[in-house]
Amino acid sequence: MKAYEIVTEPINPQLYADYVLRPEAGAVTLFTGHVREWTRGIRTLYLAYEAYIPMAEKMLAKIGTEIEEKWPGTKTAIAHRIGELKIGEIAVVIAVSSPHRRDAYEANEHAIERIKELVPIWKKEIWENGTEWIGDQRRKPEEGETP
């Protein structure tokens, strides 16, 4: 396990929570992002994630550094899974520990916002009647119709 990693196997979130725990940490926040069955009224069968792995891991580590500068005393670990994921499975885990809880919540939420801006990972939604790479959220109906 690395503190900032792209993985292909199911994520065990506890590993990341354990990694950030230290005697001076009073608070740990653990965020897990899961594959949702319904998005904008469309039923997802499963998702496929792809990443530019070396750059993605570098960007995750950059987010960690950013957080440790902005909220001194925090410690962060982040993993994102790629490949095919079923409904309910964990796509991303973010663990942050901190002496005080406020920082642990704020830093954790900052991490997921930055992941969505910065980290080269792409999600393809597979529905009953089509697939789509999600990215710019402007839907392209002709792609939406592709079987």
Binding site: G33, Y49, E50, A51, Y52, P54, M55, A56, K58, H80, A91, V92, I112, I115, K116, E117, L118, V119, P120, I121, W122, K123, K124, W133, I134, G135, D136
Partner: protein, 77 residues
Amino acid sequence: MITIFYFAGLREAAGKPQEQAELAGRTVNELLEWVRNQYPNLSLDAVRVAVNEEYALPEDVLQAGDTAALIPPVSGG
């Protein structure tokens, strides 16, 4: 020579995950121009370019041996 990576929808539209091109000495902007000429129906709106795994500026100059990745809007999380 530089190596160009295509990801996600761009990989599918280009029909390949990567290729090599004689673009050493050219800028990131010129690389995008080159890609646009090769694949006229590739949508490059909002695509960022990463050189050697760091986001690059349009005027950055490519060196021989660089990797340039076309990064369509990301959707992790």
